[in-house]
């Protein structure tokens, strides 16, 4: 379907997001490609930081874009990035849930992350670093983790985070405070840093 869409000559790189989205709704494949190019790295990065292993991140991103295209007609107001983040977050949550179930039955709960990281990363140092932070993040609750990631790693303001996660800014602050405290405690407990 996507490949059959004709490239619209009206689409230009300077079109703003609303025009781009409207073109996508009209079935403009070039618009789809441009939208994809704009948001791919965000989706990839967010998925990784929310806990998706390097080996699975492409699958999660693919699923997120698929859902976005299918439901794009339902999106009318707000920022696309916020709406798309919610899709990514939902997909990441589903991925982590499957991973927990799988780990429960395979008995590899504790070590799976290490193995996956080691297979994806080349250097020992990088593997060590990724595993340390990822393991600590994995111990946070999902709500705290996303607030922590969006604030500490993505550098988004509280208001935007509140919009993305669907809660008041004060709640974001509260979660962020709690997430930092938990992050420190877990890191000390695991000896990540002194």
């Amino acid at each position: 379907m996507l490949l059959s869409l004709a490239l619209s000559p009206a689409m230009t790189p300077s079109s703003d997001a609303s025009v781009l989205l409207e073109a996508c709704r009209q079935g403009d494949s070039a618009a789809w490609k441009r939208l994809y190019d704009v948001h791919f790295e965000f989706a990839h990065r967010t998925a990784r930081r929310l806990g998706v292993s390097p080996g699975d991140v492409e699958d999660v991103v693919h699923e997120a874009f698929t859902v976005a295209w299918r439901k794009l007609a339902d999106f009318h107001t707000g920022r696309f990035s916020t709406w798309f983040y919610q899709i990514i977050s939902h997909e990441v949550t589903a991925y982590l849930r499957k991973k927990r179930v799988r780990a429960f039955f395979t008995g590899r709960w504790a070590d799976e992350t290490d193995h996956e990281v080691s297979s994806a990363e080349g250097s020992v140092a990088a593997r060590h670093s990724l595993s340390q932070v990822e393991q600590v993040l994995a111990k946070l609750s999902s709500k705290k983790r996303e607030v922590f990631v969006l604030f500490e790693l993505e550098g988004l303001p509280h208001e935007q985070i509140a919009e993305m996660v669907g809660c008041p800014p004060q709640t974001v602050r509260t979660r962020l405070h709690s997430a930092r405290r938990d992050f420190e405690a877990i890191a000390r407990k695991r000896g990540v840093w002194p």
């Binding site: 791919f40 990065r45 990724l130 340390q132 790693l153």
Partner: protein, 762 residues
């Protein structure tokens, strides 16, 4: 920057890196997946629906599985999970389910859907589904819609598709054993199908077989004589629908030294010296199922296998109660195993079933199942002294009276391979084969009156020992004594004996005695009169029926100081043999019941030993010379006294006592205890339906008597308990253990089938 910030910054930088080809790969996948929603739209729900449907089917099938059942008919036992109802006697209707049927009748009908299954002494599995049935024949003859099935019937096959099945040549839809004329017989054999004695007698010589089924009533010395001297087998099914009198079925294989390989199922009543005599003296085995539906009492079933060296391989199942020394005596002195299943549904009283295997040297391998309550010295005694097996199932359904079924296998050196099923009780004395040594070449069977004498006369020509069985009246003594005598004399003795005191009862307590007897007997020869001690009355019981070729079998010492029986009526079945019978001796025997030469039993030369109605058959009769000793008793002079009171034990007070008695006492106690545990286990399993308790009891029996005579039986019952408990893994292990321990068990095939079934269930 704190270490925390450094780590986060490193993580931020690394997660910001995107693999160069990742973007293109994901885009290609997005482009290719043109309509993922369409695929999801039906695949997921379809998968869910499929799973739900499978779960529902499994649940419904589990819930709808027919309940386990076990039903018994007159001639069959069916067990399994099926919807079953009994339509008529001997007929079963199966709507659906799986069941195993063991049929010992000559024509048991199972209606399975639109198909009719007729079984003749067969064991087969049957699975009835909505549109098809599956029959797997384990043993015997099974006809499905008239065609014999010898292997698994393909599911869905109809009657007209039997081309692919093995159909026995000559088999017809309604053949079976009912009509001997339609029974296909091997060409090298001759069949005796009717009641006419003449052809039977003609074929009564060596090599003749009663291969077919005798469905008519046999009179007197009819069927018995048929196989009188046959050396082959009574291979077919002898089923008498009418009553047989006199020496009938018993005599069938009376002197046969082969196998009664078929099924002897007299549905009518058998009277004196009948069924019991069947296998007496048989040199081979009672391989089939001896089932007596009538009640037996006195020294009956127990005596059959006495002295048998082989096995009563079949199933002896008297449905009635046996009293006295009955079932026990079956294998009394047999050195075989009661390998089969002894299932008397009726009650057995003192010293009955127990005595079955008394003296067995090995085991009562089968399952002794008595639905009635045996008491006294019962099951324990069965296997004593038997060195091999009564391989089948002894199920006395009815009662047998005096010295009947018990005597079946007396002295049999091997097995009566078929199934002897006297449906009625027989009375009188049996002892057919009492003394058969190797070949019971002559007529066995307890002849009555003239029959016996005629037999003797006939046998004399062949140097046959004469009267084979202990006949009523003219007992064992007569044959030997009157080997040259006339029939009239024999008859007169018979009359004298009729007036003699009762001869039953002593045996009941003589499980051990039997064993002793059996043990002593073999000294003399290969042929042992297994000690059919049927006489009991306190007065005279001689019993030492042991003999061997060329030995004087019977030895009986009167208790009286003067060498005579204490009372005139004492039993004296001495084996006095005289070439020229003394009138005095004859008179003494006739009137007082004391045989001439009672004090010293001398055996004539090889063979011709007579004891207790037993006698050695194949006797090359060397006429002994009778003389009188100082006390006037007749002694045979030409041959040394082989059997003396010392050697066989004396009979004090009329009690048969032979040899030592101390060892058997301990043995019997252990055997009784073992048998009690076995019986309790069976009762818990079959009556109380408490398989778990039964298993515990049986395991206790196994651990307490690891080398007990009944261990094979215990093991088999354990398998049943495990099956009822549906403990399939343990059952498979137990089956393997059984196969290792009893590699030659006659039940091995069944056990293996059970193991296969368990494997499927697991």
């Amino acid at each position: 920057m704190t270490p925390r910030d450094e780590e986060l910054e490193r993580f931020r930088a690394q997660t910001a890196e995107v693999d160069a080809g990742a973007k293109d790969r994901v885009w290609r996948r997005l482009a290719v997946s043109t309509a993922p929603e369409a695929r999801r739209s039906w695949f997921g729900p379809a998968l869910i629906l499929t799973g739900c449907a499978a779960a529902i089917v499994a649940l419904v099938s589990a819930v709808a599985r027919p309940a386990a059942f076990e039903t018994r008919g007159a001639q069959f036992v069916a067990r399994g999970h099926a919807e079953v109802r009994a339509a008529a006697p001997g007929q079963l209707m199966v709507t659906r389910g799986t069941l195993a049927v063991s049929a010992w009748g000559d024509r048991v009908t199972v209606q399975a859907g639109a198909h009719t299954i007729v079984a003749s002494s067969a064991v087969f599995g049957l699975k009835v589904a909505a549109e098809s049935i599956t029959v797997e024949v384990r043993r015997g003859v099974v006809l499905v819609d008239g065609a014999e099935v010898t292997r698994r019937w393909p599911a869905g096959a109809r009657a007209l598709e039997f081309d692919e099945l093995e159909v026995a040549a000559g088999a017809t839809a309604n053949s079976g054993a009912a009509d001997p004329a339609s029974t296909t017989m091997p060409a090298e054999r001759s069949s005796v199908g009717g009641n006419d004695l003449a052809p039977a007698v003609r074929s009564g010589e060596l090599g003749a077989a009663i291969g077919g089924a005798a469905s008519g009533a046999s009179n007197g010395a009819a069927a018995a004589q048929l196989a009188g001297a046959a050396t082959a087998a009574v291979g077919g099914a002898a089923s008498r629908s009418g009553a047989s009198n006199g020496a009938t079925a018993a005599q069938l294989s009376g002197a046969a030294n082969a196998v009664v390989g078929g099924v002897v199922v007299p549905s009518g009543g058998l009277n004196d010296e009948t069924a019991a005599q069947l296998a007496v003296a048989a040199n081979e085995a009672v391989g089939g199922a001896a089932r007596r539906s009538g009640g037996s009492h006195g020294a009956t079933a127990a005596q059959p296998a006495v002295a048998a060296t082989a096995a009563v391989g079949g199933a002896a199942s008297p449905s009635g109660a046996s009293n006295g020394a009955t079932a026990a005596q079956l294998s009394g002195a047999a050195n075989a195993v009661v390998g089969g299943v002894v299932v008397p549904p009726g009650g057995l009283n003192d010293e009955t079933a127990a005595q079955l295997a008394v003296a067995a040297n090995e085991a009562v391998g089968g399952a002794a199942r008595r639905s009635g309550g045996p008491h006294g010295a019962t099951a324990a005694q069965p296997a004593v002294a038997a060195s091999k097996a009564v391989g089948g199932a002894a199920r006395p359904s009815g009662g047998l009276n005096d010295e009947t079924a018990a005597q079946l296998a007396v002295a049999a050196s091997k097995a009566v391979g078929g199934a002897a099923r006297p449906s009625r009780g027989s009375n009188g004395s049996t002892q057919l084969a009492g003394v058969a040594s190797a070949t019971v070449g002559g007529t066995s069977g307890a002849p009555n009156g003239a029959t016996a004498q005629r037999l003797i006369e006939t046998g004399a020509a062949k140097a046959t020992a004469g009267a084979v069985g202990a006949s009523n009246g003219a007992t064992a003594a007569q044959p030997a004594e009157t080997s040259n005598a006339t029939g009239d004399r024999a008859v007169s003795r018979a009359g004298a004996w009729n007036g003699a005191p009762p001869r039953h009862g002593a045996i009941s307590k003589t499980g051990i005695d039997l064993r002793e007897t059996a043990r002593v007997g073999p000294d003399a020869a290969s042929a042992t009169v297994g000690g059919v001690v049927t006489q009991a009355s306190g007065e005279a019981a001689p019993r030492n029926a042991k003999m061997g070729v060329g030995s004087v079998a019977g030895t009986r010492t009167p208790s009286g100081a003067d060498g005579r029986a204490a009372n005139g009526a004492a039993a004296t079945e001495t084996a006095g043999i005289s070439n020229a019978p003394s009138p005095d001796a004859t008179r003494g025997a006739t009137q007082s019941g004391v045989a001439s030469g009672a004090t010293h039993l001398t055996a004539p030369q090889p063979a011709a030993g007579v004891l207790n109605g037993g006698l050695s058959r194949d006797a090359t009769v060397t006429p002994p010379i009778a003389s009188r000793d100082a006390t006037g008793n007749v002694v045979t002079g030409s041959s040394p006294p082989v059997a003396r009171a010392e050697s066989f034990g004396s009979c004090e007070g009329g009690t048969a006592r032979s040899a030592s008695k101390s060892e058997p006492a301990a043995l019997t106690n252990a055997l009784r205890e073992e048998a009690a545990l076995l019986q309790r286990g069976e009762y818990e399993l079959r009556t109380l339906r408490d398989a778990a308790a039964s298993l515990g009891t049986l395991q206790r029996a196994a651990s307490k008597f690891p080398r007990g005579s009944l261990q094979q039986e215990v093991a088999l019952t354990e398998l049943e308990a495990l099956r009822d408990l549906e403990r399939w893994p343990e059952l498979i292990t137990a089956v393997e253990a059984f196969a290792r321990r009893y590699p030659h068990s006659e039940r091995l095939d069944e056990v293996r089938a059970l193991g296969a079934f368990a494997a499927k269930q697991r």
